[in-house]
């Protein structure tokens, strides 16, 4: 007996890697997620050739949405050139024949981990966010069946309680990412580990956002023109990170979300977190004919 006899003969894989029944399942779940904004729809998460927790949920959604005319951009914490982002982008290009891009304006599908690009997305673009922990109630209710009942009853008192206690202890909200947000006035979702800076970009956006957790097998969505409101107290306004006055040392651009680069002398340099947005700004400053799209923020404030 040989290994060859035990295995099936090699055949070409399906378009977009996933078999059609898997894609059909995902499309149905996505439609349901869009129909009930913010509601976590369970789905049969498939194996894909990356490890669980490295973006399998996002990748399955991207592969399902893929068509030969798709233009795909993949970012990891704002960067197009990280190993994870490059690998996923190349994989999608290989199995779907999609055009790969780093330019937000060119892309039709943007798969992202932990950031939303600084340039405003359009109606014809879909943002796919990778989500490690889709359940906002997990810190207060580890029993998922009870958490689902709490969602059903809109019982979010304990989420507010976490924010209350942060204010009591620190005098300000300490939730740096995954800020719990009310979608369409009904379901509270965790908008993946995007920074507070990015949450307002989801509110009444032109584009469709699909959030998918492969390991946790949950999909939820924010359809275009849907309200996404971070949980805030009446007398404690929502605050984004204080990056308004930071300037990117590479592109000399300010008023956008920055990465902090600690220096040996104790000081810090800042660079634009959205790496290709930075590249475009540098190219433009050097006189190249580069079109930079409209941005969500202007001078550090949401337009």
């Amino acid at each position: 007996m040989t290994l060859q006899k035990l295995t099936r003969p090699w055949t070409a894989f399906n378009y977009g890697f996933l078999d059609e029944s898997a894609k059909r399942e995902l499309r149905r779940r996505i439609l349901k997620a869009i129909a009930v904004p913010g509601y976590q729809v369970p789905y049969a998460s498939r194996e894909v050739p990356i490890a669980r927790g490295w973006g399998t949920g996002g990748l399955q959604v991207t592969l399902t949405l893929l068509k030969p005319t798709s233009v795909v951009k993949v970012i990891d914490q704002g960067a197009d050139d990280s190993v994870n982002a490059s690998s996923i982008r190349k994989f999608v290009g290989r199995v779907g024949g999609a055009v790969e891009t780093e330019d937000t304006m060119e892309a039709t599908i943007i798969q992202s981990r932990h950031r939303i690009p600084e340039e405003k997305l359009r109606e014809d673009q879909i943002l796919v966010l990778q989500v490690p922990n889709p359940e906002p109630l997990r810190p207060v209710q580890p029993d998922m069946s009870v958490a689902r009942e709490m969602h059903g009853d809109a019982d979010y008192g304990q989420l507010w309680l976490i924010l209350y206690e942060q204010l009591v202890k620190a005098g300000r909200i300490m939730q740096g990412s995954s800020y719990p947000s009310m979608v369409n006035g009904r379901h509270v979702m965790t908008p993946s580990p995007i920074p507070r800076w990015d949450v307002p970009k989801l509110n009444q956006a032109d584009h469709l956002t699909i959030l998918s957790a492969g390991r946790e097998k949950r999909i939820f969505a924010v359809p275009p023109y849907t309200s996404v409101e971070p949980l805030v107290f009446d007398d404690v306004p929502y605050r984004v990170e204080d990056h308004q006055d930071k300037t990117c040392y590479r592109s000399d651009v300010s008023g956008f979300f920055m990465n902090e680069l600690p220096q040996d002398d104790g000081s810090s340099l800042y660079e634009l977190s959205d790496s290709h947005f930075g590249v475009k700004n540098i190219q433009k400053s050097e006189g190249e004919a580069i079109e930079i799209g409209e941005t969500w923020y202007k001078n550090g404030r949401v337009k």
């Binding site: 009942e149 009853d153 304990q158 507010w160 209350y164 206690e165 009591v168 107290f233 007398d235």
Partner: protein
């Protein structure tokens, strides 16, 4: 109105109506029956509570008093029976027909409860003020300063030391934990406050302090209370009226003084004399 009270299901003994009972009852339960498998926990119990009074429910372990209290808190649904709360602006309907969400909202706004075990009533890893604030948050309060102030007021009214309002309940003594539960229960000025053995497990001096607090709250705020205890001393101290339960049935009910000075039912006599 008095007729309902004087049904005297077990005793048939008519007693003089207390002054409080001239008002419309705030809580009315009729024919509450509940079995768990072959075990009959409640066998057609009637209960009526009038505004501003303290109804004491006594009985031995397994008599059904805590089950009845859970029914009042809408934590369980009986096999038979009706439950009405007279709440201004609310439709008068059998509360057992409410769905889970409606029950939760009714509990949040109109019913307070203090459990014997603080772990059932408190979030041990959150601050004491947070525990009180949670009740306000569930009821839709969203102003941080107001939450803080009302948590402080409720804790103060429960004679909880304000300087410890941001300590976690697990860092507090049993008596203090009961005060936090009490503060949480009264934060929204409930129509009915349910007390399930609130002093059991506390030493005698702390018991006395907690009872003093309850009496003061009842006197100052005219809070309607239903107090379940197997301790007749506690019931005697607190209750205006007493309901004696045994094996899921009410064997005798009446004014506290009447029950303690002139018990009619044999079981009540045993209970009173055993205690005294």
């Amino acid at each position: 109105m008095a007729a309902a009270y004087f049904d005297g299901r077990a005793t048939g003994v008519e007693r003089q109506p207390p002054r409080l009972m001239l008002a419309e009852p705030i809580l009315t339960m009729r024919g509450i029956a509940r079995s768990y498998g072959d075990v009959r926990a409640l066998a057609g119990v009637d209960a009526t509570v009038y505004p501003g009074e303290v109804l004491g429910i006594v009985g031995e372990s397994g008599s059904g008093k805590s089950t009845l209290l859970r029914m009042m808190n809408l934590e369980d649904t009986p096999d038979a029976g009706t439950y009405h709360l007279a709440l201004p602006g609310h439709e008068d309907r059998n509360l057992f027909t409410l769905d889970r969400f409606e029950r939760r909202m009714l509990r949040a706004h109109h019913i307070g409860i203090v459990y014997q075990n603080p772990h059932l009533g408190l979030l041990m890893n959150h601050t004491s003020s947070g525990n009180v604030a949670e009740r306000l948050l569930i009821a839709g309060k969203r102003n941080f300063a107001e939450l803080r102030e009302r948590a402080r007021e409720s804790l103060d009214a429960s004679e909880f030391p304000i300087e410890r309002m941001d300590a976690r309940p697990r860092e507090l003594s049993g008596g203090m934990q009961q005060r936090v539960q009490l503060a949480k229960a009264i934060a929204l000025e409930p129509a009915v406050l349910l007390l399930d053995e609130p002093t059991t497990g506390l030493d005698v001096s702390v018991q006395a302090l907690v009872l003093d607090t309850l009496k003061r709250l009842q006197r100052d705020r005219r809070i309607t209370m239903v107090l379940v205890s197997h301790d007749l001393g506690v019931i005697r101290t607190m209750a205006d009226r007493v309901m004696v339960m045994r094996r899921g049935e009410v064997v005798e009910q009446g004014l506290a003084d009447q029950i303690f000075q002139d018990p009619q039912h044999e079981y009540t006599q045993q209970l009173v004399h055993a205690k005294l």
